[in-house]
C-alpha cells in the first residue's frame, strides 16, 4: 500500500493546509445561516445606491440619443440587408423543390461523395415531408446570408489581425466580449436600430458567429512559415501578391474550419432570432411551444437538427484533405473505406463504382466535346486564351454538369411543366404519433408519480432552500464571501474587480434576480455532476458504451439550445423545475466528456502499478484516477457552469425565473436598459465563476505536478 500513500503524500501537504481554512469556511457558513434566519425579507441594496445609479435610464437615454441622430445610417444598412434577404428568401421559396434539392445535393456529392449526398437528400426531403418546407427555406435564407456576410467580414478582419500585431491586440478583447455576451443582450438593441425581422437577425448573427472565423483566419495566416513568405518575397512578389497567392491559400484549411464553426453558431442564433421577429423554423418551434404541441415542436427541432448535421458534415468535407488510395484497392463510395476487408462490402460497392465510372465518362466526354468546340471557335481570336478556357472547362466538368442540371431544372420548371411545391402526398406527419405518445405517458399514473416525486424532492430540498438562502443572505455578506474567494484563488486585482462587478449588479437593483439565477445554475451544475460523472466513469471503462455515448453527445452539441426546451416541456410541463431540467440537459455534455477524458488520460502505468499492489478497481478509481483527473473535472465544472448560464436566457419561455426573465421583461416592455442590465449581470456572474474555477484548475494542476 506504500504506493497509495506515496501518491497522496503529494497532496497531503495541501490537505493539512486546508484543515484550517475548512474550519473557517464552516464558521462562515454557520454565520451566514444565522443571518438568513434573522432576515425577515429578501436582501436589498441600500435605496440611495439604487436610486442614484439609474443605469437603466442612462442606457435608455443613450439609446434615444443614438436613435435620434444616427438611426438613418442603421436604417440604410438595414434596408440593404433586408432587400437582399427578401430576394434570397423569395428565390428559395419560389424555386421548385426539385431545384432546391439539386442545389444542395450536387455540391455535397462533389465534396463529400455519395454518403454525404444521401444524408443531405434525406435532410431536405425531411423538411418537405413534415410540411415545414417554407420555414426551412426561410431559415436557410437567413443563415445563408448571415454566414456569407460573416465570412466576408470575418476573413478581412482575420487577415488584418494576422498581418498586424497591434490590430490583433485591439481585436482580442472585442472577440472575447463577443463570445461571452449572451446573444439576447444585443438582439434587443439590434431590433431598435435595425427594425424587426431579417435584418437585425442577420446582424446579430454576424456578431455572434464571427469570432471563430476571425480567430482561425488569423491563426492560419500566422501559421504560414516565414521561410515561405521570404521565398515569395525573394522571387519578387509584393505584399499583396504574397498575401493572396501564398498566405491566404496556405491558411485555407484553417479558414474552412472557421467557416464550419461559423455555420454552426449562425444556425443556433438564427433559430433564437425568432424573438425579434425573424421567421423560419425558430418561430415554428416557438409557436409550437406556446401551444404546448410537443409533436409539432419536435418536427421543427428535427428539421433544425438535420440542417445542422448537413452543414456540419459539408463543412468538414470541404476542409478535409483528399486521401490517395493505393492503386490496387477498390475505392468505396458509400460504405466506410475501412470495410474493404469484407467481401460483401466489396460486392455492394462494385456497381456503385461502375456507375461512377459511367457518369464520369459521359459527362467528361460531353464537356470535352464542348471544350474542343470552344477551343476551335475562340482560337480564331486568341490561341492561348482558347487553350486555357478549354482546359478550365475540362478540369471542372463536374461543376459545369451541376450548373447544367440546375439550369435544366429551372428551364423545365418555367417552360415545360411546373414542378411546384413539395408533393403533398409525400407528407408524413410525426406530429400526432409523438403528441399521442407523450400524452399517453403524461396521463400514466406511475409516470406522474415518478416525475412529481422527483420534482417535489428537487424543489423542496434543493431549489427552494438555496433560493431562500441566497436571496435572504445580506448582499454584503455574499459579496464579501465571493471577494475573499476570488482573492484566494486568483489574486487581489481580480478580487477588486469582483467587488465592482457585484456592486454593479446590486446597484442595478437586480440582486434578488441574480441570486435566483445563481441558485438555479448551481443546482443544475450539482445535478449535472451527480448524473454526468457516473456516466463518464462507465464510459471510461466500456469502449462500446463510450461509442454510443459519443454519438449522443455529438448530436446534443449540434442541436441549437432552443430545442432543449421541447423534450423537457413534454415530460415536466412548465415552471422553475422544468427550467432546471432543461438547463441540465443542455449543459451536461462537457462534464461527461471531461470525466472520460480525465480518467482515460491517467497514465495506464499508474493503474497497472496500483493493480499490482493489489488495489481493487474501486480503490484504483477512488485513490488514483479521481485525484489525478481532478483538473479535468474542474474544467468540466467550468464549461458546465458557462453553458448553464447561457441557458438561463431561454428558460423563461418555459417558466424559468431570475435574470433571464428580466431580459424577457425588458424585451416585452421595450426597455433596453432593463434587458441590458440583466444580460450584463448574467455575463458578470458567469465571468466571476469562470475565473475562479479556472484559477482553481491551475492550482490543482500545480499541486499534482501536472503542469
Amino acid at each position: 500500500m506504500a504506493f497509495f500513500t506515496n501518491i497522496s503524500s503529494s497532496t497531503n501537504n495541501y490537505i493539512e493546509n486546508k484543515l484550517f481554512s475548512r474550519l473557517l469556511i464552516f464558521i462562515a457558513l454557520a454565520v451566514s445561516i444565522i443571518f438568513v434566519f434573522i432576515g425577515d425579507d429578501v436582501t436589498e441594496f441600500p435605496l440611495f445606491v439604487t436610486d442614484s445609479f439609474t443605469f437603466t435610464a442612462w442606457v435608455n437615454h443613450g439609446e434615444d440619443y443614438l436613435k435620434e441622430h444616427y438611426r438613418w445610417i442603421t436604417k440604410l444598412i438595414a434596408s440593404y440587408i433586408k432587400a437582399s434577404y427578401y430576394a434570397l428568401e423569395d428565390f428559395l421559396l419560389d424555386s421548385s423543390w426539385l431545384f432546391i434539392v439539386a442545389m444542395l445535393v450536387i455540391p455535397s456529392l462533389a465534396f463529400g461523395g455519395l454518403r454525404l449526398a444521401l444524408l443531405v437528400l434525406f435532410g431536405v426531403l425531411f423538411w418537405g415531408a413534415v410540411d415545414l418546407w417554407d420555414s426551412s427555406m426561410e431559415t436557410l435564407a437567413l443563415m445563408g446570408l448571415s454566414v456569407f456576410l460573416s465570412v466576408i467580414v470575418g476573413v478581412i478582419l482575420g487577415v488584418l489581425c494576422g498581418l498586424s500585431n497591434r490590430f490583433e491586440r485591439g481585436m482580442k478583447p472585442v472577440l472575447d466580449t463577443m463570445q461571452v455576451m449572451p446573444a439576447f443582450v444585443y438582439l434587443i438593441p439590434a431590433m431598435f436600430f435595425f427594425g424587426i425581422g431579417g435584418a437585425p437577425a442577420i446582424l446579430a448573427t454576424m456578431i455572434y458567429s464571427m469570432p471563430p472565423i476571425i480567430r482561425l483566419t488569423n491563426l492560419g495566416i500566422r501559421q504560414v512559415p516565414s521561410e515561405t513568405i521570404e521565398t515569395a518575397t525573394a522571387f519578387g512578389s509584393n505584399k499583396l501578391q504574397t498575401l493572396f497567392k501564398v498566405q491566404v491559400p496556405l491558411a485555407l484549411p484553417s479558414i474552412m474550419m472557421g467557416v464550419n464553426q461559423t455555420i454552426m453558431m449562425a444556425l443556433a442564433l438564427v433559430v433564437l432570432a425568432t424573438f425579434i421577429g425573424a421567421q423560419g423554423l425558430g418561430s415554428e418551434i416557438w409557436v409550437a411551444i406556446r401551444k404546448l404541441d410537443v409533436g409539432w415542436a419536435m418536427e421543427g427541432g428535427l428539421c433544425v437538427l438535420f440542417m445542422a448535421i448537413m452543414f456540419d458534415r459539408f463543412g468538414k468535407a470541404l476542409s478535409k484533405e483528399t486521401v490517395t488510395l493505393p492503386s490496387d484497392s477498390q475505392r468505396f463510395y458509400l460504405l466506410p473505406q475501412t470495410w474493404d476487408i469484407y467481401p460483401l462490402a466489396r460486392i455492394i460497392e462494385k456497381p456503385l463504382g461502375y456507375i461512377h465510372f459511367c457518369f464520369v465518362l459521359i459527362f467528361s466526354s460531353i464537356f470535352s466535346a464542348i471544350a474542343s468546340f470552344l477551343n476551335i471557335f475562340i482560337s480564331i481570336f486568341s490561341k492561348e486564351f482558347a487553350e486555357s478556357i478549354s482546359k478550365f472547362i475540362l478540369n471542372h466538368y463536374f461543376f459545369f454538369t451541376g450548373i447544367l442540371i440546375l439550369y435544366g431544372l429551372s428551364v423545365y420548371d418555367s417552360t415545360i411543366a411546373s414542378i411546384g411545391a413539395f408533393p403533398e402526398s409525400w407528407h408524413v406527419s410525426l406530429r400526432e404519433p409523438i403528441s399521442n405518445g407523450v400524452n399517453s405517458l403524461t396521463v400514466n399514473p406511475t409516470f406522474i408519480s415518478i416525475t412529481k416525486g422527483i420534482k417535489a424532492f428537487v424543489v423542496i430540498y434543493l431549489l427552494k432552500p438555496l433560493d431562500l438562502y441566497l436571496t435572504y443572505l445580506p448582499w454584503w455578506y455574499t459579496t464579501l464571501a465571493l471577494v475573499i474567494l476570488s482573492w484566494i484563488s486568483v489574486g487581489v486585482r481580480f478580487a477588486i474587480i469582483t467587488a465592482l462587478l457585484l456592486f454593479f449588479i446590486g446597484a442595478c437593483n437586480i440582486w434578488t434576480e441574480a441570486m435566483i439565477t445563481l441558485s438555479s445554475v448551481l443546482i443544475s451544475v450539482l445535478l449535472c455532476f451527480v448524473i454526468g460523472v457516473p456516466i463518464g466513469v462507465l464510459a471510461s471503462y466500456s469502449k462500446r458504451f463510450q461509442n454510443i455515448n459519443e454519438v449522443i453527445l455529438d448530436a446534443m452539441q449540434t442541436l441549437p439550445y432552443f430545442c432543449y426546451l421541447i423534450p423537457v416541456l413534454m415530460f415536466f410541463g412548465g415552471g422553475a423545475f422544468a427550467a432546471l431540467i432543461a438547463t441540465i440537459v443542455y449543459s451536461i455534455p462537457p462534464i461527461i466528456r471531461l470525466t472520460v477524458l480525465g480518467l482515460s488520460q491517467v497514465s495506464s502505468t499508474y493503474s497497472e502499478v496500483s493493480k499490482s499492489f493489489g488495489g481493487s478497481t474501486l480503490q484504483t478509481l477512488n485513490k488514483i484516477k479521481f485525484p489525478l483527473a481532478t483538473p479535468s473535472l474542474v474544467m468540466g465544472f467550468n464549461q458546465t457552469v458557462m453553458m448553464a448560464f447561457a441557458m438561463q436566457i431561454v428558460t423563461p419561455l418555459i417558466g424559468g425565473k431570475g435574470l433571464g426573465r428580466e431580459v424577457f421583461n425588458g424585451l416585452a416592455r421595450s426597455d433596453t436598459g432593463r434587458a441590458l442590465a440583466a444580460g450584463i449581470a448574467i455575463c458578470l456572474l458567469a465571468m466571476i465563476l469562470d475565473r475562479i474555477s479556472l484559477a482553481w484548475t491551475k492550482k490543482q494542476r500545480d499541486a499534482l505536478g501536472l503542469s
Binding site: S84, A87, G195, R669
Partner: protein, 336 residues
C-alpha cells in the same frame, strides 16, 4: 482542387450579389403580428382571411411577443403594419401612442386618449373581461369563501411546494401583458405568490391538471376563453377598476395606493386592432382601413372558434375558414 473551390466560392458570391440586386416590395403587401393567445390569433386570422380572400391583399405574419415592443414596431411601420386585438387595460403604450376617440357600434366608448397619434386603432368587436378565478368545487366545499378578501384564510389550501407557506396564483403568463399580479397581491394584502409560467397554454395546463385532481387553485384568466366552458370556475370579484395616473413606465410605476390600479381588477376591455397611420393612409390601403373600421367579431363566435382550436386541437386556419364559409352574412357587412 483549389481552383475548383475558388470557382465555387466565386460563383456563390456572384449568385448572392445577383439576387441581392433584385428587390421589390409589393404595393398591397401587409405584415401583421401573431398574437400570444388563441383569442388574439383567431381575431387576426379572421382579418387576414377577409383581407386576402375578399379584398385581394397579401398578408405576411411575424411571430412577435405582444407588449410595448410590438406597439413601437407598429408605430415604426417598416416591418409590422398592423396587429390585432390589443386589450387596452393590458397595453401601456396605447395611452402614449393613440390620439383618437374609440368607437364601438357607433358609440364613443373612450375619448381621453392623448398620445402622439403614432398608432391608429379600431375596435375588433370583442369585449373582454378579466379576473382571478377559483374552481366551483372549492367554493362549494368552503361556504365561508365569499371573494378575494377571504383568500388569506384559505391560503394553506392554495400552497404548493414552490410557494411554501404562501398560496399560489397561477398568474398572467407573459410579462408583456402588464398584469402586475404580484403588485396587486401585495397591495391588496393577499399573501400569495404570482407564478408566471411563460405561456398561456402552460398556465392552463397547470390549471386543468389541478382541476382534474380536485385541488384548490387560484387562476388568472379572461373571457372569452375556452376554459370557462370546459370547467366550472367562479370569479373572486376583484375591486372595480380605478385607473392610476402614475403607474406607468414614464413614472417608474409609482403606485397610487391600495384602492387604485393595479390594486383593482381590470376594466371592461373594448379590444382594438392597431395599425400604422401612415401606411394605412395610402390610397391602396383604403379598402383595408375601411374593413378595420367596420370589423365587428362577436364574443360568442370567437369563443366557439377558440374551443374548436384549443379543446379539439384543430388547425386555426381551417377553423376560421369554416366560420367564414358559414357566416358570410356577418362578415359581408364589414366590407368597405
Amino acid at each position: 482542387m483549389n481552383l475548383f473551390k475558388n470557382t465555387i466560392v466565386a460563383s456563390l458570391l456572384s449568385f448572392f450579389l445577383v439576387i441581392a440586386s433584385f428587390s421589390q416590395a409589393s404595393a398591397d403587401r401587409l405584415t401583421r403580428a401573431v398574437a400570444d393567445w388563441t383569442g388574439g390569433m383567431v381575431t387576426c386570422e379572421v382579418a387576414e382571411q377577409i383581407l386576402e380572400q375578399e379584398l385581394g391583399y397579401k398578408i405576411d405574419s411575424i411571430v412577435f411577443p405582444s407588449g410595448t415592443g410590438l406597439w413601437e414596431a407598429v408605430a415604426d411601420g417598416s416591418d409590422i403594419q398592423f396587429a390585432c386585438e390589443s386589450w387596452p387595460s393590458y397595453a401601456e403604450a396605447d395611452e402614449v401612442m393613440v390620439n383618437q376617440k374609440l368607437i364601438y357600434n357607433g358609440e364613443v366608448v373612450k375619448d381621453d386618449y392623448n398620445g402622439d397619434g403614432s398608432v391608429e386603432v379600431y375596435t375588433t368587436g370583442i369585449i373582454g373581461s378579466s379576473d382571478y378565478f377559483v374552481p366551483k368545487y372549492f367554493v362549494d366545499a368552503n361556504p365561508g369563501f365569499k371573494g378575494w378578501e377571504d383568500l388569506n384564510d384559505y391560503k394553506d389550501q392554495f400552497a404548493t411546494a414552490e410557494t411554501g407557506a404562501k398560496g399560489r396564483l397561477i398568474g398572467c403568463p407573459v410579462p408583456g401583458w402588464n398584469c402586475h399580479d404580484q403588485k396587486r397581491l401585495d397591495l391588496l394584502g393577499i399573501d400569495f405568490v404570482a407564478d408566471e409560467l411563460g405561456t398561456e397554454v402552460a398556465a392552463l395546463a397547470e390549471a386543468s391538471a389541478a382541476y382534474e385532481r380536485g385541488e384548490a387553485f387560484l387562476l388568472y384568466f379572461f373571457t372569452p376563453h375556452w376554459f370557462q366552458g370546459a370547467y366550472e370556475m367562479v370569479p373572486v370579484n376583484l375591486p372595480a377598476n380605478v385607473p392610476c395616473e402614475t403607474f406607468n413606465e414614464a413614472n417608474n410605476f409609482t403606485v397610487c395606493g391600495p384602492d387604485k390600479w393595479p390594486a383593482t381588477g381590470w376594466a371592461k376591455d373594448y379590444t382594438i386592432n392597431y395599425m400604422n397611420p401612415a401606411v394605412f393612409a395610402k390610397p391602396e390601403m383604403a379598402a383595408a382601413k375601411g374593413f378595420f373600421k367596420k370589423m365587428n367579431l362577436d364574443n360568442a363566435d370567437q369563443a366557439a372558434m377558440i374551443n374548436e382550436i384549443d379543446k379539439n386541437g384543430r388547425d386555426i386556419v381551417e377553423v376560421v375558414q369554416e366560420w367564414k364559409d358559414n357566416n358570410s352574412d356577418k362578415w359581408s357587412t364589414w366590407l368597405p
